[in-house]
C-alpha cells in the first residue's frame, strides 16, 4: 500500500530557521543533511516521491471558490514543510518509516494511506 507522509514542523522551529542569516542556515543545513542521507540510505531507499516545500509564509489559499488569502489553509501550531510518498507492506511499516524521518523528533508526521 502507498502512504503519504506529511511532514510538519512547529511554528517555533520554522521561525527559528527564518531568523537565521546565510551562514547560520549553512551551518544548520550541514547538520541536517547527514540525517536525511542516513534516513534515505537505511530506511527509505526507494520512496515513490517526495518534495520539500518553501516556507509556510509563501503560501496562498483559495477559499470558497475565489477568495485568496495569505498563508497556509489552517491556523495550526504546526505547518507542513514537505511530503514523502512511500510504498509499505502495512500501516506498521509506514509508522516505522515515519518514526525515522528526521523531523519526527521535533515536529510531527501525518500518515495518510492513499485511497486506491
Amino acid at each position: 500500500m502507498r502512504y503519504l507522509l506529511l511532514l510538519a514542523n512547529t511554528e517555533e522551529r520554522i521561525a527559528g530557521w527564518e531568523d537565521l542569516d546565510a551562514d547560520g542556515r549553512r551551518e544548520a543545513m550541514a547538520e541536517e543533511i547527514p540525517k536525511w542521507n542516513a534516513f534515505f540510505d537505511r530506511v527509505a531507499p526507494n520512496p515513490v516521491g517526495g518534495l520539500q516545500l518553501d516556507l509556510p509564509r509563501t503560501a496562498k489559499t483559495l477559499r470558497d471558490g475565489g477568495l485568496v488569502t495569505d498563508g497556509p489553509y489552517a491556523e495550526t501550531k504546526e505547518q507542513i514543510g514537505g511530503y514523502l510518498l512511500v510504498d509499505c507492506e502495512s500501516l506498521d511499516e509506514a509508522i516505522e518509516v515515519a518514526s525515522q524521518v528526521p523531523v519526527a523528533a521535533t515536529g510531527s508526521v501525518e500518515i495518510r494511506p492513499l485511497d486506491e
Binding site: 509499505c88 511499516e93 509506514a94 509508522i95 516505522e96
Partner: protein, 392 residues
C-alpha cells in the same frame, strides 16, 4: 461436538485466516457468519468429521462469491488468487494460529480506544453486536456503526493482521492486555454481565497459549483467575456488595485459585516482572487464609514503580492501614492526589475514619462517596455504613 462448541472454537480462527488473506475483516466476518448460518441449516445432529475445515471452506467460498459479485473492486483478481491459496488443514495441525494477528489488529493503537474492546469481542470472540451493545449500554445501531468504521479502517489504512515486530511488541502487547482487562472488568462489575468476564478469561487463555514466552500475558490470566475465583462471594443473597475481608471463603472457587497460582508461578519463572504479574501476586496473597499485609504493601510499592497511578497509591494506603493501623493508612490516603471524583477514595477514607471512631468525619466521607458511586450494589453498601456511623 455441538454447533455452539464449533462456533466458540472456530469463529475467531476462520475470521482471522480470511481477514489475513484479504486484508478485509468485514468481508471475513460476513463470510464466516454465512458459513455458520449454512451449517445451522445443513448439519442437523450430525456435524461433519472436521467441522473447522468445513466452516473455513464454506466461508472461503462465500468470500470468493462476494468478491466475484463486486463489480467495482480494483484488486479483484489479486484477492481471488489469495483466497484460492488459503490452506484448509485436513486435520487439526500445529499451523501458527492466525487469531493472534487478529487480536493485535483489533487492539491496534491507530484504532480509537473505545472501539478496541467491542471489536475484539466481535471479531475474535464472536459475540454478536446486540450482546456487546447491551453489555456496554450503547444502542446497537451506534455500536454497529462504530464497528463498521473500525473494520473499514483496518482494511483501508492497511493495519496489519499479524504479530508486531519485536521492537514494538512490548508496547502493542500492553494495548492487547489492557483491552482484555477492560473486558473482564466490564463483566465483573455486575452479575448480569458475567459472560463478558468469562469471555475475557477465554481470550486471556488463548493469548497465553499463543504467546507462551510472554510473562505478562500469563500474569494477566492469573490476575483474572484470582479475581474470578471470588465472584460468588462478592455479592450476598440480596445482591449487596461484600468486602474482601468479609467474604465467605467457602464460596471461593478453589480450582480457579489453583489455576491462577500455576499461571503466576509460570509467569514469575521468567524473572521479567511487570504490572500484571505484580497485581496477580497481590491477588494471590489475598487468597491466603491470613493475608501477608506487609508483603502486600511491598508489592504495591513495586507496582507504583512499574505503573505509577493514584489508584495504586490508594490501594497501597489501604494495605498499609491493614499492616500498620488505620492512622498510617489515613495519612497515606490524604497524600493521594487526582482521585477527588473517585468514589472508592472517599469510601476508603470513610472506612478508616470509622475505625478510628471519628464518626462525623466518616459520615461526611461516606456522603461524598455516595454522591459519586454509580453501581447499585456499591451504593447500598455505602448507605448501610453511613447509617451505622450516624446512629448512636
Amino acid at each position: 461436538m455441538s454447533l455452539e462448541d464449533v462456533f466458540r472454537e472456530e469463529w475467531g480462527r476462520s475470521v482471522a485466516i480470511l481477514a489475513r488473506a484479504t486484508g478485509d475483516p468485514a468481508l471475513a466476518e460476513d463470510s464466516v457468519q454465512d458459513a455458520f448460518a449454512t451449517a445451522l441449516e445443513r448439519w442437523g445432529n450430525r456435524p461433519p468429521r472436521n467441522p473447522g475445515a468445513w466452516i473455513l471452506t464454506t466461508a472461503r467460498n462465500r468470500a470468493i462469491d462476494r468478491i466475484r459479485r463486486d463489480r467495482t473492486l480494483a484488486r479483484k483478481t489479486e484477492l481471488l488468487a489469495r483466497l484460492e491459496q488459503v490452506d484448509v488443514p485436513e486435520e487439526d495441525t500445529s499451523v501458527p494460529d492466525e487469531r493472534l494477528g487478529l487480536i493485535f489488529a483489533c487492539c491496534h493503537p491507530a484504532l480509537a480506544g473505545d472501539v478496541r474492546v467491542p471489536l475484539t469481542l466481535r471479531l475474535v470472540g464472536g459475540l454478536d453486536t446486540g450482546e456487546i451493545a447491551r453489555a456496554f449500554l450503547v444502542s446497537e445501531a451506534t455500536l454497529a456503526q462504530r464497528l463498521v468504521r473500525a473494520k473499514r479502517k483496518i482494511r483501508d489504512a492497511g493495519i496489519p493482521l499479524e504479530v508486531p515486530a519485536a521492537h514494538v511488541l512490548p508496547d502493542r502487547l500492553g494495548s492487547v492486555l489492557a483491552v482484555l482487562y477492560l473486558i473482564f472488568n466490564e463483566g465483573y462489575s455486575t452479575i448480569v454481565r458475567n459472560e463478558l468476564a468469562q469471555e475475557a478469561i477465554r481470550l486471556a487463555k488463548l493469548l497465553a497459549v499463543l504467546m507462551p514466552d510472554e510473562p505478562e500475558a500469563l500474569g494477566l490470566l492469573a490476575l483474572l483467575l484470582f479475581q474470578d475465583s471470588r465472584r460468588a462471594a462478592r455479592l450476598d443473597a440480596n445482591g449487596e456488595l461484600v468486602l474482601l475481608a468479609d467474604q465467605d471463603r467457602a464460596l471461593w472457587d478453589q480450582d480457579r485459585i489453583a489455576e491462577g497460582k500455576r499461571m503466576l508461578e509460570r509467569a514469575l519463572s521468567f524473572r521479567k516482572p511487570g504490572p500484571y504479574q505484580v497485581q496477580a501476586a497481590i491477588a494471590a496473597l489475598h487468597a491466603e487464609d491470613e493475608p501477608d499485609w506487609p508483603q502486600i504493601v511491598a508489592l504495591y510499592c513495586r507496582l507504583a514503580e512499574l505503573a505509577p497511578s493514584p489508584v495504586v497509591d490508594l490501594n497501597r494506603a489501604v494495605a498499609a492501614a491493614m499492616a500498620e493501623g488505620p492512622e498510617v493508612g489515613l495519612a497515606l490516603i490524604e497524600r493521594v492526589s487526582g482521585l477527588e471524583s473517585y468514589h472508592l477514595l472517599h469510601a476508603a477514607r470513610a472506612d478508616l475514619l470509622r475505625r478510628l471512631d471519628r464518626r462525623e468525619e466518616a459520615a461526611e466521607a461516606y456522603r461524598q462517596a455516595l454522591e459519586l458511586a454509580e453501581s447499585a450494589a456499591e451504593r447500598s453498601f455505602l448507605e448501610r455504613r453511613l447509617a451505622e456511623v450516624t446512629t448512636a
